[in-house]
């Protein structure tokens, strides 16, 4: 019973292989895909993934901190001119009419501010 099943499986695989051009080619060459081929594909895939990761990290850093990222894994502390120039909308209030409601004036003593300034100037 087992032998019959194995024979059916083997025959069907042979015909399937003949129909598929890729498999037919590998059948013709060596009848199998080598381990090295698989490793090369994985290696290329990993390299592409690394490149993508680096690009994503660079974009994120540019957006987040204004710190550029270079391929040597070193962060440049000074913001580059590139990341200073992204588009920021300009507020336009010329066409806006606003109320003239008088605001409540809250005036307090500011001696604390001048004393704090003196202390800040004395910090060593």
């Amino acid at each position: 019973m087992h032998i019959i099943l194995i024979l059916i499986f083997g025959v069907s695989m042979f015909f399937l292989g003949r129909r598929n051009p890729l498999m037919r080619q590998s059948f013709k060459k060596s009848n199998s895909v080598s381990h090295q081929d698989v490793m090369n594909i994985i290696k290329t895939f990993n390299n592409k993934l690394d490149q993508l990761n680096t690009t994503l990290l660079e974009v994120r850093n540019l957006l987040d901190n204004g710190i550029s990222y270079n391929s040597n894994n070193q962060q440049e502390k000074t913001p580059t001119t590139k990341n200073q120039n992204f588009y920021v909308p300009e507020p336009d209030i010329r066409s806006i009419k606003s109320s003239n409601k008088e605001r409540e004036k809250n005036i307090v003593d500011s001696t604390g501010v001048s004393d704090t300034l003196d202390s800040l100037n004395d910090i060593k």
């Binding site: 957006l63 066409s95 806006i96 109320s99 409601k101 008088e102 005036i107 307090v108 500011s110 800040l120």
Partner: protein, 362 residues
Amino acid sequence: MKTVGVDIGTMNIVSCYMLEENDKMQIDKMRNMFLPVSTDILQTNELTDTQIDYVIQKDDDGNDQVFIIGDDAFKFAQIFGSEIKRPMNKGVISVGEIDAIDVLTVMIKRLIGQTKDGCAIYSVPASAIDIEIPPVLYHEKVFNKVFKTLGFQSKPINEALAIIYAECRSSNFTGISLSFGAGLTNVCCAYKGQQIITFSVSRGGDWIDQNVASSVGVVESRVTNVKERDLDLTNPKIGKKKEKRVREALVFYYEDLIEYVLKHFVQQFNKATDSLNIDDEIPIIVSGGTSKPKNFVELFRKVFNEGKEFPYDISEIRQAENPLLSVSKGCLIYGLWNNTKEKKLNSQKKDAPKTKSKEPEK
């Protein structure tokens, strides 16, 4: 030069500046929110005679759009039970509100006015450690343009560091400050006025309001109103049944917020112990609009003492003198201090003897 300190918070914008009269300072506050009103309900010409803070702007089709702004927006929203719009979310400019930048510019203009050569120091949050928030750099760039439109040179300062400048004079500007805001809770550890650790966590007053509103089934602005009116965190059993439920839920979520913030707080400071060596006892200053309810500090102390051991010795845990004002005051102090330093530097340059390069004698 007019120097102003502006606390740009998710819930409130607070400004302060020195007056020309001796030892006087003007403080102004506006809710950072707006309410679009249909022109069918409120005609634009009807608004001019009212004492309402509003703006009228043209939309893309050339039609008038009316927005009630600031505290009036908050009042209107409570009366009509409608949801208000917020120009900011999680401490930074809201990505979903297309009108946010223009409305914010008008609101800041109402607070600090327009000038030709002013200097504005404004607060910004630190990056959040538990959530992705829109880039703080973009937020800074937007506000630099807003202040430039109003004639001010501007500089951002970390919100929690500003609290250190305002509140830690007695400890030589060394301490840990926690700013419980509406969108985020900001933390800063500073040594002699220099920030060492800064971070923020994504929970704040809005998180409490949203959770209470969905737990008890009321509109968020009504929860905010109860929270800000007279909430006592040690005694929530006040008022009618519905209000009592809101207060009880508020106390529950307040405790949860403090636990959450302290968990991250202890984690971050434990991580930093290798590089950070502070021998002296340091104070913890609690501030921000969300810390305003009665007995907040007592609840904070209780949760802090029950929690994990903190790696540094704490001298005291206290509340800022005025939790709503302290960030803007710190911004102003920092701005004035910078001006003094610049003046000193310029005068030193002027006084320095000019050395002419002598030609070699032949």
